[in-house]
């Protein structure tokens, strides 16, 4: 558990303000991870292992890499050109006399740097805009939705290329340019998810209660809406981190990324390795290629694992054996079915039950929308239906059946 990427935990831990609930918040986030089973467990742990290795290499690059990212000589002696792996250069050297091992190790640092910047930028902008848009609605909402949908529909790599092309004069060098280019691509994703969950959270009873007590919009958003909405973000964040690495490598491969003298970048190295392949020099392409795939795979596995764990439809088969088949009264099933889920979340919740049940529901609505394509009306309908059910606070509705057939429930309520 120690090598959990901090970004998974930090936003939640920070946000649950009163200290009494702070450890509780963390526990609530970690609970599904601890209890993951089967494929999800495998994906989570193998993903975390790969990601942990990637982060360690990136952070300790100066100590791990034998040479600098752009050094072509050591002690006044020039490296051999395109030497096969072995001796001083375990991964060989490139056509530019670079040491492949050093490039790969330093490349991890570049990738991590760009990824952190890109995720932080897009998270900040996307979540903020999504909250405002979803909470206040009105013309701002309409315009933002239109712009974001348009950006979302546009081929992301082209967007990144054009952005990189335009930002190429931005001060701060290649890393910031690349991060900005990638940011543009991912803002719409956060925006859409956060806006959708804000829409349903806005109608929830506890928000209504806060509003009735005269809380300012600012307080409502930051205290009540934010901490409930943000729970759907970690999965996207990890998947985006993977995408950010892929996009950075893609930009580098096309020649719009970071210059080789500035920092080591895997995509650029691969591009330079294309002619080598024809000449049977496998090492210049293979090692950066493996590095890219592993880095992306690590984050993707973590994201997929988290998705499974937080998604009620995937978790169902673990809950099912606990449910004792109803003997005479359906009532008995309800209490039993409610049991394991509450155990997941922890027994007491300040503004709890609604928020807690809300998480799987959000994930459900999202998955549903993904599955049937992004018909926004549907997504919204499901979300509002969920909100209505929450408001009604019927124990039957909150129980398992609801989580299972969310689509159907949504349509019926409508």
């Amino acid at each position: 558990m120690a090598n959990l990427p901090t970004e998974l935990v930090a936003p939640l831990a920070d946000e649950v303000e009163p200290p009494r609930r702070s450890s509780h918040g963390v526990r609530r986030v970690l609970a599904p991870i601890r209890e993951a089973q089967g494929l999800a467990r495998f994906m989570l742990w193998s993903g975390l292992a790969i990601t942990g290795m990637f982060v360690v290499i990136a952070v300790f690059a100066p100590w791990i890499a034998p040479y600098g990212h752009d050094s072509y000589e050591s002690g006044g002696e020039r490296f051999p050109k395109q030497q096969s792996p072995g001796g001083d250069h375990p991964f060989g050297t490139t056509v530019q006399n670079f040491d492949v091992l050093s490039r790969v190790v330093w490349g991890a640092r570049t990738a991590l740097e760009v990824m952190v910047y890109a995720v932080a930028f897009s998270l900040f902008v996307g979540v903020l805009l999504g909250l405002l848009s979803g909470y206040f609605g009105g013309w701002l909402d309409r315009i933002l939705v239109l712009v974001m949908d348009t950006l979302f529909a546009f081929p992301y790599l082209l967007l990144a290329i054009v952005a990189a092309f335009m930002f190429s004069d931005v001060p701060g060098g290649g890393v910031v340019t690349a991060a900005l280019a990638i940011t543009v691509v991912y803002i719409p994703q956060y925006f859409r998810v956060v806006r959708a969950s804000t829409l349903s959270a806005r109608e929830a009873t506890y928000v209504e209660a806060a509003r009735a007590m005269g809380a300012k919009p600012r307080t409502i958003i930051s205290k009540y809406v934010f901490s409930n909405v943000i729970q759907s973000v970690p999965v996207i964040t990890t998947l985006n981190a993977a995408d950010a690495i892929a996009t950075l490598a893609g930009l580098g491969f096309l020649g719009f990324g970071i210059q080789p003298t500035e920092a080591a970048e895997w995509g650029y190295d691969l591009q330079r390795a294309i002619p080598d392949l024809g000449a049977d020099m496998w090492w210049t392409a293979t090692f950066p290629g493996i590095a890219i795939v592993l880095a992306i795979l690590g984050f993707t596995l973590v994201g997929e694992g988290l998705n499974d764990v937080m998604n009620p439809s995937m978790r169902k088969r673990r809950i099912r054996p606990v449910v004792i088949p109803p003997i005479t009264k359906p009532r008995a099933t309800v209490t039993l079915a409610g049991g394991p889920r509450d155990a997941n979340a922890g027994p007491d919740e300040g503004d709890g039950p609604a928020a807690d049940v809300g998480v799987p529901k959000q994930a459900g609505a999202k998955e549903q929308a993904e599955a049937t394509g992004r018909t926004k009306a549907e997504e919204q309908a499901a979300a509002t239906a969920a909100a209505q059910l929450e408001a009604a606070a019927q124990p039957e509705a909150a129980a398992q059946a609801e989580a299972d057939d969310r689509a159907e429930t949504g349509e019926e309520t409508k």
């Binding site: 712009v147 081929p155 893609g250 795939v293 394509g373």
Partner: protein, 343 residues
């Protein structure tokens, strides 16, 4: 759910009208990104060459860059309405002609990739959903994740190395062997169709032969999405009340799954295809670069490298239009085949 008659045509009309603001937003974004952003297109397009001030002024005037921005914006919109994408600064070609010329290869590649993804993705997704949590299901999910995680160009380079260089089974790159297709008249600008048109089957098979590697590479990028969607859809469909009802009526499980399950699970695939178009267009840039495929993406990279703002803007505008139109068509097709969509 009572539907008023004529709701379909109303839905289609709404959808078409909705495309107009989308196109407008896209065009504005493209304009802002490429024109208002810093940097001087004219001197940039000259590369390192020093131009005299008069020459620069002349070029700037020819491209309309000396006018106020708002006027440039108006001209740009008016040009796009007439489907005029401007004239390249670096090659002096009409960008519309370039698009026509190179677009065919991209269409060929994207179609091949889509077919590959459908042929692999749908059966695998259906089987994985049907035998949920089996070994095959786990394999299918991991396969989808890994193919999604491996960037197009890494897969492409590996495939080239293995199938072209080492084994020599398939050609390394390009759309055809050199010189073979030079005398095919450009009727549709899609080489393979043109070759069929003039009954030149040697060229047809040559193109198909060259298409295998790039299409499979690009197809692998999106196959995971299909597997996942089909799988989730089937799982949800099989949970539906009508499936339960069919079982209750004593219909054989095999018929329940194939007739009630599969068909309904496949409806959303149309939507997914629409969503993948953007991914395909983006991925085709990388694939075309890797396999030296003479398409629009490769051309765009060349224009970007020569900092040809006008041509870049033209191609990006065109792609934006394509994306909007396709998403509109997909929504309409969806409404035609699935009555639940049009409420």
């Amino acid at each position: 759910m009572s539907q008023k008659s004529g709701s379909l045509s109303r839905y289609i009309a709404m959808r078409v009208l909705l495309a107009i603001p989308m196109i407008f937003v896209l065009l504005t974004l493209v304009f802002v990104m490429l024109r208002v952003a810093p940097g001087d297109p004219i001197s940039a397009s000259a590369g390192g060459a020093k131009l005299s001030d008069e020459k620069i002024a002349e070029l700037r005037h020819a491209a309309g860059y000396d006018k106020p921005l708002i006027e440039q914006y108006g001209t740009y919109l008016a040009d796009v309405v007439r489907l005029d994408f401007g004239k390249s600064i670096s090659t002096n070609q009409d960008v519309g002609d370039v698009i026509l010329d190179k677009g065919g290869a991209t269409v060929t590649l994207a179609t091949g990739a889509l077919l590959f993804a459908l042929v692999i993705g749908i059966p695998v997704g259906l089987l994985a959903g049907r035998f949920r949590d089996s070994g095959f299901d786990v394999f299918a999910r991991l396969f989808g994740i890994i193919t999604y995680a491996a960037p197009v160009f890494v897969v492409g380079l590996l495939a080239q190395q293995l199938f072209a260089t080492k084994l020599g089974w398939l050609p390394l790159d390009g759309q055809t062997d050199p010189l073979i297709a030079n005398d095919i008249p450009a009727t549709t600008h899609i080489l393979i169709l043109d070759a069929i048109w003039v009954n030149d089957w040697e060229v047809v098979f040559n193109v198909l032969w060259h298409l295998i590697l790039p299409a499979c590479t690009l197809g692998l990028l999106i196959v995971g999405v299909f597997i996942r969607m089909v799988r989730i859809n089937l799982i949800q469909t099989l949970r539906g009340d009508y499936v339960e009802a069919a079982r209750a009526r004593g219909i054989r499980e095999r018929d329940v799954v194939t007739k009630h399950g599969f068909r309904n699970a496949l409806v959303p695939v149309v939507t997914v295809i629409g969503l993948q178009v953007a991914l395909l267009l983006g991925g085709s840039v990388l694939t075309e670069k890797t396999f030296n495929w003479p398409g629009l993406g490769k051309q765009l990279i060349e224009f970007l490298n020569s900092r040809d703002y006008v041509a870049v803007q033209g191609i990006v505008t065109f792609i934006a239009l394509v994306v909007v139109v396709i998403s509109m068509l997909i929504d309409i097709i969806n409404a035609l085949i699935d009555p639940r969509v049009r409420y």
